[in-house]
């Protein structure tokens, strides 16, 4: 009787040992995978930062203005070539000259 119980216990112990080996192997494998994924995430984050910076470098006011002027032949707007529109969609005329404003102000 006691021999049989011991035998069963031995088998259970052995199985548990194998299970432990397996699960610790599994945990290492998963850990390595997690580590790799985290590293990839970091790399991507860095790339994102880098690309954002590059985008910004390509879009600095200096560069934009130069391209607009030289390549696209654009000129800066002035109120003389602008129509102002209120949020409602109505046109807004520039305010009439204030009495004390010198009339030559706009013609310079």
């Amino acid at each position: 009787m006691s021999v049989r119980v011991n035998l069963v216990l031995a088998v259970v112990l052995l199985a548990s040992c194998f299970w432990l080996v397996r699960s610790s192997y599994e945990s290492r494998r998963l850990f390595v995978e997690l580590e790799r994924a985290q590293r990839a995430a970091r790399e991507l984050q860095i790339d994102y930062e880098r690309l954002q910076l590059e985008k910004r470098v390509q879009a600095t006011p200096l560069r934009v203005e130069k391209l607009a002027r030289d390549k696209l032949k654009m000129v800066a707007t002035t109120p003389a070539v602008t129509h102002y529109v209120a949020p409602s969609g109505a046109w807004v005329a520039p305010a009439p000259p204030v009495a004390s404003v010198p009339a030559t102000g706009g013609a310079r």
């Binding site: 003389a80 070539v81 305010a95």
Partner: protein, 608 residues
């Protein structure tokens, strides 16, 4: 002696002589060889001795394993555990619209262990070339230490790859964070820069070092023989990245201001120049540009005078720009009205033996015309009606002699002597801006009292969120009444109009007002005869002021030196650009150059 020998004999198993076979002896075997008779007490003694020995061993083991185990645990851990530093990324600096002004990106740094270094002369040459130095320079660097030498820190990725491709033994790489400044020299003085260890050295990088830097974290891991991480142990201290700092600066306004002042400095062969653009409605600094400047990315020339943020750190005598403030106080206290006549003939006056001159003699002028024509005599006549203490309090209320309340390293206080030590002539000269000094930023900020119906507006270098924007008005301090402010605005508009000192300040579509200033530069104890400083401070649009712009050009030496001729055009261009950038509606009628099409009617062809 006989006792000892008796003991010995007993240990050998011989019975005591005195009492032979008093006790029954134990027989271990039947072999006669082993048949020595052992007394039972001896067995007990031996068991006891061996037991004691084991107890000592167990005690020692328990001591090592359970009680005093720290040392061995530590020693054990150090053989398989590694502590890895998790580096925090330095926060970004953004402009008011979220555009990047400074950002950190990892860059490889190259280092070497000189005693391990094995390179052919050919490889050495190539390495030196990639690092941008000569072979002797490289050798000198390698001779510095046998164990660790930086070859070059924070290089470009392709350089690092090329060096790695050389495959020289003893040359290694690691990743560090490199700071990039997309706006370059245009915003250099505001943003500042960091040193090679990523510590802020100037500007916002220095002022907000704490917030930007973040905190490094650590984690403990177990590494295997090949250095691969196999398990994390203990708890992780995560790295806390630095916060982003959002400035009130508008990158476009900043750039435009920089470009204009740079061109003006070049055109007038000047030594230096500064522009300050303030948004008076929100209390934010939109631009702060200086020339000469530097490239913060390029570590080689981060020294010298070009690092100075002149708009904040350099003081000068504000000259004529003080006159409107005096006039405002004279109006405020009811001493004069804008149309009160003041006699300035014959263009000079004597006070306590000193003579005060006007550039041109004007005769009788109204108060408004005194400001428009910038008459020293007229201003002095206004100021001499005031008590010194009154004037001192006025100057203090508009921030002169006070440290600007902005978080910026090196912002200066300027000089305003206590009123008790003023002599009469000093009070007179101070009224037209001599005998006290202020930075361009302080002068610009003092003009907020004209731009806001009389309130001195605190300025911020950080972008306000909408709640703060609403609340900032309450932080302003009233200096003069809205009526006085409005009256002075009219005078400033006249000064910038025809018949004033700076008609070149005019813009298309927006009404502007401002005051020019020109001063001989102080040299030693006197004034230099041929060195000038020109500036212009103004507000726009006059009907509902939005911005204050101050422009200063130091030592223009290409013929023109009046503020109205040198600084006012810069003011005009900056105002034009800034207001259209801020979507401010023009308040002046403009002759339209495009013809609006009614529906169905084709548009006229635009003619240029």
């Amino acid at each position: 002696m006989s006792r000892l020998s008796g003991l010995w004999r007993r240990l050998r198993g011989q019975p005591r002589r005195q009492k032979p076979s008093a006790m029954p002896s134990v027989r271990y075997a039947s072999s006669p060889l082993l048949a020595s008779r052992t007394p039972p007490w001896r067995v007990k003694f031996m068991i006891g001795a061996i037991g004691l020995g084991f107890a000592v061993l167990i005690g020692r083991a328990a001591w090592i394993q359970i009680i005093e185990n720290d040392f061995y645990l530590e020693q054990g851990a150090s053989r398989y555990e590694r502590r890895i530093a998790l580096e925090a990324t330095r926060g970004r600096i953004l402009d008011r619209n979220g555009e990047l002004l400074a950002s950190s990106v990892p860059a490889p740094s190259l280092w070497a262990i000189p005693k391990d270094l094995q390179a052919t002369p050919q490889q050495r040459r190539e390495l030196a070339k990639l690092l941008g130095m000569t072979v002797p320079e490289l050798d000198k660097r390698l001779a510095g230490s046998p164990n660790f030498v930086w070859l070059r820190r924070k290089v470009d990725d392709d350089v690092a790859e090329a060096v790695a491709a050389l495959g020289i033994k003893g040359v290694h790489q690691l990743r560090e964070a490199k700071r990039h400044y997309p706006e370059g020299e245009a915003a250099a003085h505001v943003v500042g820069f960091t040193n090679i260890e990523d510590k802020g050295q100037e500007g916002v990088e220095l002022a907000y070092q704490e917030r930007l830097s973040g905190r490094d974290g650590t984690r403990r891991v177990i590494k295997d023989r090949l250095g691969r991480v196999v398990e994390a142990v203990g708890d992780l201290v995560p790295a806390v990245d630095g916060e982003s700092v959002r400035l009130s600066i508008d990158a476009k306004v900043q750039f435009y201001a920089y470009q204009r002042i740079r061109d003006a400095v070049a055109e007038h062969k000047a030594k230096a120049g500064s522009v300050v653009v303030l948004d008076v409605q929100t209390g934010e600094i939109l631009a702060l540009a200086n020339v000469p400047t530097y490239r913060p990315d390029d570590r080689r020339n981060l020294t010298g005078a070009q690092l100075r943020n002149r708009a904040l750190t350099d003081t000068f005598e504000p000259g004529s720009t003080m006159k409107p403030i005096i006039a405002a106080w004279a109006l405020e206290t009811g001493r004069v009205r804008p149309d009160t006549i003041i006699s300035t003939a014959p263009g000079r006056m004597t006070l306590d033996g000193s003579t005060i001159n006007d550039a041109h003699a004007h005769g009788d002028l109204t108060v408004a015309e005194v400001i428009q024509k910038s008459s020293n005599v007229g201003t002095v006549k206004l100021a001499m009606q005031m008590q010194p203490r009154e004037m001192w309090e006025l100057f203090s209320a508009v921030g002169l002699g006070q440290k600007p309340q902005i978080d910026f390293p090196g912002a200066v206080t300027g000089r305003l002597r206590p009123y008790k030590s003023w002599r009469r002539i000093e009070q007179a000269t101070m009224s037209y801006g001599y005998g006290l000094s202020a930075s361009l930023f302080q002068i610009a900020q003092s003009y907020t009292i004209f731009a806001t119906d009389g309130e001195y507006v605190p300025m911020s270098l950080l972008a306000h969120d909408p709640v703060q924007r609403a609340g900032h008005v309450s932080r302003s301090a009233r200096v003069i009444s809205p009526e006085s402010a409005r009256a002075v605005r009219q005078m400033l508009q006249m000064a910038a109009g025809p018949g004033g000192t700076a008609p070149l300040a005019q813009t298309v579509g927006y009404s502007v007002g401002g005051k020019s200033g020109t001063a001989r530069k102080q040299e030693g104890r006197g004034y230099a005869s041929n060195k000038y400083r020109s500036w212009f401070v103004g507000i726009a649009p006059i009907s509902q002021p939005r911005i204050v712009v101050a422009v200063m050009v130091d030592e223009p030496s290409n013929g023109k030196y009046y503020g109205g001729a040198v600084a006012a055009p810069v003011f005009s261009q900056v105002v034009q650009q800034t207001l259209s950038r801020l979507n401010v509606l023009p308040d002046q009628a403009v002759e339209p150059r495009i013809v609006a099409s009614e529906r169905l009617v084709p548009a006229e062809v635009e003619s240029f």
